[in-house]
Subunit: 327 residues, 2 copies
Amino acid sequence: MTTDNLTIDDIARELGISKTTVSRSISGKGRISEKTRKRVLDFIEKNNYKPNFMARGLAQSRTFNIGWVVPGDSEMTALSFFQQCMLGVIDVATQADYDLLITTVFDHNINGLLRVLENHKVDGVILGQTLTHDPAIRALKKSGIPFVTVGSTEEKNVVQVDHDHLSACKELASILKLKGIRSASFIAGAEDKVVTLARRRGFEEGMDGVNTTIYMNCDRNEEIDRAVDDAMRSKTECIVCEDDRICYGVLAKLKKDGVQIPSQVRVASFYNSSLIEDNQPAITSLWYDPKALGAMACRTLLSMIEGETPVQRQKLGYEVMLKASTL
Amino acid sequence: MTTDNLTIDDIARELGISKTTVSRSISGKGRISEKTRKRVLDFIEKNNYKPNFMARGLAQSRTFNIGWVVPGDSEMTALSFFQQCMLGVIDVATQADYDLLITTVFDHNINGLLRVLENHKVDGVILGQTLTHDPAIRALKKSGIPFVTVGSTEEKNVVQVDHDHLSACKELASILKLKGIRSASFIAGAEDKVVTLARRRGFEEGMDGVNTTIYMNCDRNEEIDRAVDDAMRSKTECIVCEDDRICYGVLAKLKKDGVQIPSQVRVASFYNSSLIEDNQPAITSLWYDPKALGAMACRTLLSMIEGETPVQRQKLGYEVMLKASTL
DNA sequence: TTGAAAGCGCTAACAA
DNA sequence: TTGTTAGCGCTTTCAA
């Protein structure tokens, strides 16, 4: 049953033709008479032949794997965003007969990525997140391997796909401003992430003229709690959270302190996910499509692997979802 | 700079020895004089030689990749458990110069896994979750490839690592019973998951004599809400949640309904994670070490790939964490 | 339109 | 202790 040791030679012998012809029939490259082509394909179908990826890889210097690089702390990795995005990548990759090799980057330590690159274990890489001085991007550039980043970067000549965070955050912020908010606080995560900076800028531009306070690097709960304490003490009218994880922490803190939303303070988030979507009251937030983003990243990468030169920057849209948390 | 086209032939020529000698120096197999061995290694070090994995793979029929199979719905994948577990796997794999190929299984659809197996893209597989009639296990057995499951299974001859869910859940349940609880409800997820069944059994055994109600297949929020409604109507004294995700839903529902914990109902969870750990009040739960589990699974798999015959069932411990949610 | 033959870079008998 | 020689299974010139 499991006779999957069938090789291209076996087929050639069986059909009385050469390996070359078989190879060509499969790949579709070169001229082949429709007749023999069909003979080969039929035989393959019947005998359940599966080409050997390693052999093909060695001959063509290809692995048919693509690298997927994500932050290596479980708090990050577990974020709905990366998971959704990855599912989009997998969808597209699978259809093109590629598989995903996963690598983690933790605290600017890119050893895992370096190993994968040095060992030539992937044909291209998708970077799940961009940092301001991103060592991963540097390494990828140096390696010469095709790669695309999910998230923007200032680095030159980097193919990138991203949501339009700046516009989205600016739009949401300005809507909040129009609601008559006089003072707002922005609680955000690590400022070495490009997306954090974009959101901050969107917030600031949208809130132009409003009294604002910015709390950066609130990655852990204590920091979030402290930021919320400070914001409430300063009688902020609205807390805007940089992402779902932070919003989750903010909601927990407000609940603990018995602060009512939206009567005592309004809350909005620049990223939505299942982490907060069932909250009572519902949270005003931005909606993106990370799965579509992942799919686009993968499509782009595959085209690069095929030798095409893709658009450098692709932006995906968003939606503003106004809910009860901001009146 | 990027002269990484150095091959074993180059080294041999450069050093005036044969490829074989070089190969042996690297692998450490066969007899080699310390002197030449050192010469080769020094040369390699100096010239930054990196062996070609594809070539080695083709020659040895190995890929130096291991497959990591997880549920393909983002709600599941994002669970802290799988992420932590994966980080454990990656740690061990990386040290042994293996990489992780990720594959998803969604709703008993194992096509992704099948492709990876047929294409021989991995040397072994770690299954992140076990189902009662697990098609993945069947496929893996049939393929003959080494694999280990994270989670138990009834299938014969399957190497498996797991937490001791039964004992853990039974212990927690019996502690709750000792606290004088007269009626308890168990809210659980899909009953095709082996772990769900184990936890249920632990609950039932631990609660022996107590008036209990079981709610199975509560994977979505509506179902959780309905279960909670029913449980509260039946004046349950304690809601025991099968995992963190469900507990999260239960807590949200109780909050929405203004039910006080633990005064109006006690709550416990059979799995802890960041999803619920900051809850007020703190939730009584079980603590496991999924990262250690992943690491153990990977170590076991690697030993199997090396041809060893490992222990069939390995169990990791747990801790009962009694918190304010159960008095 | 087809085939022969030379690799891709490494490992592993078998000899020496 | 080291080297010679076949492969691993596929692709790809170059010829026919």
